[in-house]
Amino acid sequence: MKTYEIVIGLETHIQLNTASKIFCSCKADSWGAPPNTNICPVCSGLPGVLPVLNAEAVRKGALLAAAMHAEINPISYFDRKNYFYPDLPKGYQITQFDEPIGKGGYMDLRMPDGSERRVRIHKLHLEEDAGKTKIDRGERLVDFNRCGVPLVEMVTEPDLRSGEEAAQYLTQLRQLLRWIGVSEADMERGHLRCDANVSIREAGSSMLNTKTEIKNVNSIDAVRQAISEEAKRQIDAVEAGQRIESYTLDWDADTGTLRKMRSKETEADYRYFREPDLLPVVLTAAEIAAVQNSLPELPLARRARFIQDYQLSAYDAEILTSERGLSDYYEESVQLCGGAAKLVSNWMMNDLIRLMNDTGKSAAELRLRPADLAEIIQLVEGGKINPATGKSLLARVEAGAGKASQIVADEGLGLIADEDTLRQQIAAILEESPSEMQNFRAGKESLLGWFVGQVMRRTGGKADPKRTRELLLELLRQ
């Protein structure tokens, strides 16, 4: 049997997280709103009304273009894409056709095996979303709430080679979108939607064969699965001597199967033309520069810097740059801890992430700020409290109990730093345990641990373990 290579291009629709829709002042996100309540004459296609462009949608589109290393078009245009469908109330979609806001570009992906792959971006444009229809007993019900939601449609070149790579692309794209703050990128809520173009070819060939388009692959698992299924189907078909036809397929996530929607042989003519109701979108050189300057350090670069500057393991750097808020949290904490990068990393990897999971909050949402974390770490490191107290303080501060040092003071959680007090306690214990003392002095030095335990029990854990050990040895050896 021949070996085949899978050739995949992804078309993603990204919902921008603006406050209002792209061409009217309805709320951009209708999550939870009853049908047809977040609509106005503009987005529901009433006659006589006109679209008015949302400046923030343009800014976020341009920012995404910058993050994809695309060329930001100084003059881009909106066009009408004409077709009839009940979820498209104007009978045309306002989109960008031949002069989109971003051209070209790429995104570098790191693969689980550690390798990197560059996925080229073909085109990136702004457009409005359509509404939703559903079928109910022979009738189609139409909801226009989603009409006019600002989208960026981003199309890759056919640079991906497996379902796993496609899944990595989506995962890392999702991370990037949240990182630069242009989209919530919640796939369950449809903020990030994906269609996949799949074809196969003999390994080593560079030709592009007939592809099929899989619609509605709207989770990372679905992308991985649907592409693998479709590639397998195509390979089987070719092996059986059949021709691949240009289908559109629908991915049914419930059954994990592909269903043929229609043949794509006759491409519809959308009769694109410039939208006369809108002016060209002009971005001056200064505006483009401002967008590019506002682009934060991207995840891959930050990850590399963490490994380099903070000597983190690749694994720790990966986790700590998985989300921008978390990585900002980390850096701020390191700074407040005087550059103790490894120490802060340990606290965050072990305890802070657990706290986030327990509370369901992101790093940015925690009440426990980097200053609080740094304070707790320094209390522990300075021998003021023991590590267990430190860890319990994380949850207490998060729960709103106040500043860590204040809690320690109020509740007397601090270690016994007064040496006389500690000496008295130890002397009392030695007096109560003559036989253990004898055994120790006879050479059973492993009993030291037992003595430490006694001191801890007697002091309620507030004895500084290091100093306790030193004093015990001193007194036992007298």
Partner: protein, 106 residues
């Protein structure tokens, strides 16, 4: 150069694309008029364009409004929009759809 000519077959295709249906009398009239109009626009293809002539979108350079700020201002009466529907169920616009799957999705 002769003008483009719309045959009855091509005309029928156009009618379908336009989501129309016509009586034979209407078809006859409209196809005749279309061909007359195409004869009238034949002139366009014969016009010699001066060097570098760009397409004009509005005639003049519009001194239009800049894009609007991103503010959510709800329309006060979305129910009035749904109330315009020839058919609704009080929540959704309703359209008949007895042959699901036969429709082009886009």
């Amino acid at each position: 150069m002769t003008p483009d000519y719309i045959t009855p077959e091509l005309f029928a295709k156009l009618v379908t694309l336009a989501a129309l249906e016509l009586t034979p009398e209407e078809s006859e009239y409209l196809r005749t008029e279309l061909n007359h109009q195409l004869a009238a626009v034949k002139e366009l293809s014969e016009i010699k364009l001066a060097e570098g002539v760009q397409p004009s979108l509005h005639g003049l350079d519009c001194q239009g409004n800049p894009p609007r700020p991103d503010e959510w201002l709800p329309f006060p009466d979305s129910a009035a929009i749904l109330a315009l529907a020839p058919e609704s169920n009080g929540e959704y616009f309703r359209v008949p759809d007895f042959r699901r799957g036969g429709e082009e999705a886009k």
